[in-house]
Symmetry: C2
Amino acid sequence: MEHLKPSPANSSPLTPLGFLERAATVYGDCLSIIYNTTSYTWSHTHRRCLQLASSLSSLGIKPGQVVSVLAPNIPAMYELHFAVPMAGAILNSINTRLDARTVSILLRHSESKLLFVDYFSKSLVLEAVSLFPGSLKPPVLVLITDDEVSEPLNASLAVDFIDTYEGLVGKGDPDFKWIRPKSEWDPIVLNYTSGTTSSPKGVVHCHRGCFVIAVDSLVDWSVPKQPVFLWTLPMFHANGWSYPWGMAAVGGINICVRKFDAPTIYHLIRGHSVTHMCGAPVVLNMLSNSLADNQTKLENPVHILTAGAPPPASILSRTESLGFIVSHGYGLTETGGIVVSCAWKPQWNLSLQQRERG
Amino acid sequence: MEHLKPSPANSSPLTPLGFLERAATVYGDCLSIIYNTTSYTWSHTHRRCLQLASSLSSLGIKPGQVVSVLAPNIPAMYELHFAVPMAGAILNSINTRLDARTVSILLRHSESKLLFVDYFSKSLVLEAVSLFPGSLKPPVLVLITDDEVSEPLNASLAVDFIDTYEGLVGKGDPDFKWIRPKSEWDPIVLNYTSGTTSSPKGVVHCHRGCFVIAVDSLVDWSVPKQPVFLWTLPMFHANGWSYPWGMAAVGGINICVRKFDAPTIYHLIRGHSVTHMCGAPVVLNMLSNSLADNQTKLENPVHILTAGAPPPASILSRTESLGFIVSHGYGLTETGGIVVSCAWKPQWNLSLQQRERG
């Protein structure tokens, strides 16, 4: 039947940005982000992202241009995963642990037009920008202040930064018509690999790719609707394995955290009934060496997804005995998230039962 | 950065057929299908589908041609959701409750080249074919016998049917290179609406569409990996809301059942530790009016997804009190599955607790 042919002509491009619109409709009055004493609903998050996208457009950011960010897992970092591409721009998240020289190289290589700077990375960024040759215009700088840690704005803001993050949100139009990708193959993010073999290499992912990996990452980790997700994996690390978008798809609660140690994690797990978290094997290590006061086990099981080299059996076993359900995967900046995972086999349950019976 | 542009040129088309290949790799030794005393692993299912696709090609079925099936939820019906498109053909599942005249119209309108016929629908199909005008060639017929119900092959096979389903599987090449869609927009299924307003209308879905709806249907119902799925929703009904493909994506176990009443369902739930099932509201009605002997509640909660008009509150409440977790959605043949669903709100849990407290 040659005439039976669906056509791409009238279809919507696949993009993870649609998850935010849907979350605002379906879960508008449900919590989206909690960060210390700050909290937002999905309705707030949607509105704030539209406002920020609107301000980026007003500042002259054009579709296809790169906007960078240097920040830990604070609400701004989450919002930028939507707001930057909603202005049609490409999000470039920079590892906060890089030195000024490398940051400077990345900013030049990416031709970044604007850089959001967490207050904690201010001096790093100012140094990175000072390394630009005189002939090259550095990106416009926007400061992300943090009321939660009571950092006062200092006098240098006017000199180095055109505005603050909240200033841009406040000035933005909540009715902004966000710029949909013309094609689902349009870039949405630009990430740099850690450069273990030579200089960092840029990796571009498109809207379609991030849609597919975000949904796949939910299915493969069996993430249910409305999970409570603790951000112990840096969002600058391969876009937090695509879970910034994934959490919008399932209407989850994002528990943001600037920096953490084991007591902080246990405090947040208990305080917010965390169900899911990701982290490098070192996070499992940290968790397995400590538990919150007066506890020998978590009150409710917490799913933890780790990736890279598998943690040693002793760490896995100790982490599981504390009440974590450990999943293990592997991915690359180049793959946009985890693309290989260890699928549990039913017969392993039997082995476990046999082992437990002794 | 105009040069930063991912390209469709080297990408794989989105298709749900890939789920089967992956299931055979990841879950090869895990159960895929259970039907009475018959059971298969994902490795078996993959092999059988390749063999059947190979036989369809050998019979001269060409990419883009329509292959129909008239069968209840037996293993063959599940396998055909993969095997027919793996031969490049378009699967047309026909409602087994239609009359001979309508079946005849659908076969003619779809220009079906081959029809798989469950033994129980044999006389219906022979009558439908007899209604073809002499100038039109009816589809080639293949009989699906069913050892589980001890239906002997009768003498008429040689006259009306070119082969049996198992005959074609047996003759097929397990190393067949299945025919991948040239484009993800190529048709994979042709379904007819029930024709409530006038004659049934044909709806064509493409590989991409079925990939997206299958994955979305898993995420939206929070289906975890390796569920045990009881087939109480006809697969001929909008392709079982895309769960034939979805179950391969999560390596689930498909519990097939030819026909059922409440005792059959409870027997299967208990016998196979069913976790998920779908059904029209009438199935909830059936379940809520009966429970297995000596039971007042299911041993483990079973997720049941219903669609269409919402069941009355009394049915919902009775079904939930028996241990079912009810989800409700809505979709159309035209949408390829459920596209609207009732997202549970956290505050409803509070209301429930308050109600329970009294």
